[in-house]
Symmetry: C2
Subunit: 285 residues, 2 copies
Amino acid sequence: MEIIKTIKQMQSYSREQQRLGKTIGLVPTMGYLHEGHIELVKAARKENDIVIVSIFVNPIQFGVGEDFDIYPRDLKRDSQLLEKENVDVIFNPEGEEMYPAGYNTFVEVSGEITTKLCGASRPGHFRGVTTVVSKLFNTCLPDKAYFGQKDAQQVMVIEKMVKELNFPLTIVRVPIIREKDGLAMSSRNTYLSDELRKEALLLNQSLIKGKQAIENGEKDVEKVKKLIQDYIKTSPNANIDYVEILSGEDLSDLSDLSELKGKILIALAVKFGNTRLIDNQLVEV
Amino acid sequence: MEIIKTIKQMQSYSREQQRLGKTIGLVPTMGYLHEGHIELVKAARKENDIVIVSIFVNPIQFGVGEDFDIYPRDLKRDSQLLEKENVDVIFNPEGEEMYPAGYNTFVEVSGEITTKLCGASRPGHFRGVTTVVSKLFNTCLPDKAYFGQKDAQQVMVIEKMVKELNFPLTIVRVPIIREKDGLAMSSRNTYLSDELRKEALLLNQSLIKGKQAIENGEKDVEKVKKLIQDYIKTSPNANIDYVEILSGEDLSDLSDLSELKGKILIALAVKFGNTRLIDNQLVEV
């Protein structure tokens, strides 16, 4: 396994693989890997000749006062994990390599898809994501790129970007991986005290309650939202950012579920102390 | 020579050429080709195995009230010209193919480089250009893409975008091609009456006067600008949009030329009736 630090080297590596007729799978990450990431890597390993994992804590997707500085980093541990998964290359550029002085080019998906949910509480976040992902695509030249369903809105935004800018690649969605007790895997779980970690189990539990209500025939979106919110509010430290029930196709609003066919996304973001966690469930109707 | 109308077909053609180890040169145009375009095509033909010319009048780079609807189009004549130059493919998508309903993804280079000169009088223009060029790059997958120095600011913006988004390709600049009487070639010259066409010769003449003044040692930018402006104002129908003298490296302001090394860009935009023409000269100091 190779660790590549510069865009130029990464690009010529990938160009060479293309010339040799090899397919490339890319798993973009911010490092501090957990089993959720490893699931993405395993999927990429199964479907491609070459697997590249990028590890880059992308400054431009963090807002002022967010956790960029304290976001957990451990390249040594990450490398050991990826070595075991037979990854070919870790692409691990420095901030200056990705955003040199005077950097000023951005890729943006406009509209509801980026202004709702996390877009509402984290302005500029998705612009940072689509910009860095475009740079990673152009640098690593993947045939397929792997993203977790945990960041449901993120993967929808990236799919829209890929389609609309005509990137020559396929996005593969990988389901959420959870701890045994149901907490969705996240590098940010490491911020939680034992007490808050216990309270955070409410997130998945509340989503399951909402999902069951819909599956049992509840058609009123507001009632399902309230059920979830009320459940979360039983936690003394939970601070709801949003609980939303939207179309799983394009994040459009749903008021009544009677007419709907296709996927419904139940998504939430809740703060426990300073730690903001997200989770979601897709419901087929 | 093949004419390809869909993104999917164009992309799989280019992918196949890549697999065969062929290099691809792309000449992005809005059609109604003149000798300036043909110069770009000849350069591409010399340096690549495969030459693709895209012909697409890009709606999103035109402002409200600009000439999108009347922009000249003649695919038949363009095809004949390109056939003679041994072009391999014309990529000629419809508007709906490039921007289907709900389209909402944009690439933008921010800062001075896009807000000065044409960016000041055509807000949103360069966002339209960088977006369509990104789409064309992802669709045609060129190793090299050819742009004319006539649109000096455009090529600088695109070079910055390519560098900052890490597109895996090289931009080649091709010098301005002029009519025998000095008028810079442009598809928009066709809008001019005989009378206005004669007056438009002032543009190149005034640029040469400015260039000579600098080469003869004039250090005061404002004096050179005034020289050019006064010369243009001798035309009864000329309406100056801008006359600017800026760094040819990054469009930064220059007040005094004494310290400067490198290239100076003298650029202008002038309206003759409803026809807005641009021209420029690079001066080495």
